[in-house]
């Protein structure tokens, strides 16, 4: 409403700015060419007088110049035809006024409606951050940690905390820096080396560089069971064109992985592509020893359990928007688009009465590419 009013007022102002001068009966008192000529040559002559007064030019030269200016003034006057007597311009002016009155809105409104988004309010960041406290807190916390680290660049623990976030945010070189600082100040562990290697690979657009390979080898030397490190070792072999070694590494890795995590199918595909036969992946890990060896897989399981619990709790009718958001996001992260879509649909119908909440859920849907709109 306010927007419509503003647009109307602006259009009015624009048209009025032109219509007012058009509605004048008489033209404003504007100088003609002859006036300007007179003024110009008079000033030129005055300049010459002033120069003579200061003795800047010798009198003969000045006289010459003065005569020339005078002659040109006369010529200009002769040339300037008296402004033709104006035929009655009333009709013409009316036509012009109508053109402006109709033309300005006719050009501006359709054009604007074609390119503009009158329905969209401005969204300054500060205002939006108040609406989304979670993101705000995260950003603030990160900023705080970064500030702290800037002051204490040797705080290895701080770097270790912040580096996984860098990885998530795609700031891979920062993650590389963080992990290497952690290693430098806190000492090498298999885990840290593995993380550093992963970050280096990510920073190099997925290429296992020589540096990264060295780091990963070192990690595996300390702990041969590391899953990610073994994966990157296999990838390095693949990228180097050492096909047999790659197949061997991949196969060995696959044997230790539970079939439920998404990575296994990818590894199996890779092995097939490289001409090997993928061994059957291990089942759901049993026994304490296997779980200890595979913290990654275990975590996946735990998450899965939690998500399912959340799903059950929300059921069909819960109006807990935060819950729905988390559920949809979790399924998306777990790479289960069907379940995510299902949860998204359930959430939308459960939140039918709450437009704001629906909006947030829809926004998430668009972000994840599962929304209908």
């Amino acid at each position: 409403m306010i927007v419509t009013l503003a647009l109307a007022l602006m259009t009015g102002a624009a048209a009025l700015a032109v219509l007012l001068p058009l509605s004048r009966k008489r033209a404003e008192d504007a100088p003609s060419a002859a006036d300007a000529d007179a003024v110009f040559y008079a000033s030129q002559i005055a300049d010459i007088e002033r120069d003579i007064g200061r003795g800047l030019v010798d009198p003969a030269e000045a006289e010459n110049a003065r005569v020339e200016a005078a002659r040109r003034l006369l010529a200009a006057r002769r040339r300037a035809a008296p402004d033709a007597a104006m035929a009655d311009g009333t009709f013409r002016r009316r036509v012009a006024a109508i053109i402006v009155l109709v033309g300005v809105p006719l050009v501006s409104l359709p054009l604007y409606l074609a390119v503009g988004r009158p329905d969209m309010p401005a969204q300054p960041l500060a205002a939006r951050q108040q609406e989304a406290p979670e993101d705000m807190e995260f950003a603030q916390a990160l900023a705080k940690i970064e500030k702290h680290l800037a002051a204490n660049p040797d705080d290895g623990r701080g770097w270790e905390v912040v580096s996984p976030f860098y990885m998530q945010m795609g700031r891979f070189p920062d993650a590389v820096r963080g992990y290497s600082t952690a290693i430098r100040t806190l000492g090498e562990t298999a885990q840290r080396l593995e993380n550093l290697g992963e970050a280096q690979v990510a920073a190099a657009d997925g290429i296992v560089t020589a540096d990264a390979r060295t780091v990963i080898e070192r990690a595996l030397a300390k702990d041969a069971t590391l899953v990610k490190a073994r994966f990157y070792r296999a990838l390095a072999a693949e990228q180097d064109g050492r096909r047999e070694a790659a197949v061997a590494y991949y196969s060995e890795l696959l044997k230790d992985l539970p079939a439920t995590i998404p990575l296994t199918s990818r590894i199996a595909e890779t092995i097939t592509r490289l001409g090997g036969t993928p061994p059957a992946a291990k089942g759901v890990p049993e026994g304490g020893a296997a779980i200890a060896a595979l913290p990654e897989a275990q975590r996946q399981e735990a998450i899965r359990g939690m998500v399912e619990a959340l799903d059950t709790r929300l059921g069909k009718d819960s109006t807990d928007i935060e819950g729905w958001l988390r559920l949809v996001r979790s399924y998306a992260v777990l790479n289960e688009p069907a379940k995510a879509r299902d949860a998204y649909a359930r959430g939308l119908s459960a939140l039918a009465g709450d437009a704001a909440a629906r909006g947030r859920l829809e926004a998430l849907g668009r972000e994840l590419g599962i929304g209908g709109s």
């Binding site: 795609g170 891979f172 990510a202 657009d205 997925g206 290429i207 540096d211």
Partner: protein, 162 residues
């Protein structure tokens, strides 16, 4: 002088200056134009050794060898042919393996090139590939080649490794 003579003087001096300018341009074109080739073109056209050219292509993975005293040798490839480039000096900010590069210098032989300047081609909107892909998926980021900057020389190499 009459008006006609004056005009003649004006026109002839104008022609003289323009003639000199045109002569300079033609002369300079003979000397200072540098052709640009890829490694395959270089072989195809059988460019004579000693010619000053620009070559362009990708820095071959794993080919960069740094010698003492800021010398560096690397290979430029168009995935078909390879040219060895040797260079002494500071490499540009965006020089890295697998990325585009342009080198200007003198051809020693068809596969051997001595560069006196190395430029890395880059985009104003340079981003790690993953980030770019992720953004593309969300429909937020469009790669806009038009804003791309021409390659320019930059005598400094990639940042210190942390």
């Amino acid at each position: 002088m009459t008006r006609k003579q004056r005009r003649l003087a004006l026109i002839s001096s104008a022609l003289a200056v323009l003639g000199v300018a045109a002569g300079l341009v033609l002369f300079a074109f003979q000397d200072s134009i540098v052709f640009f080739y890829g490694p395959s073109e270089l072989a195809e056209k059988n460019v004579a050794p000693g010619t000053r050219v620009r070559i362009g292509g990708l820095v071959k993975e794993g080919s960069v060898q740094r010698g003492p005293d800021q010398t560096v040798v690397f290979q430029v490839t168009d995935t078909n042919k390879v040219v060895k480039v040797s260079y002494r000096g500071i490499l540009p900010d965006l020089f890295r393996e697998g990325q585009g590069v342009v080198a200007e210098g003198v051809l020693v032989s068809l596969t051997d090139f001595k560069a006196d300047s190395v430029l890395a081609k880059h985009d104003e909107t340079y981003m790690p590939k993953e980030v770019a892909d992720a953004l593309k998926k969300q429909g937020v980021w469009q790669h806009d080649g038009k804003e791309g900057q021409a390659a320019r020389p930059a005598p400094a190499a990639q940042g210190a490794k942390p």
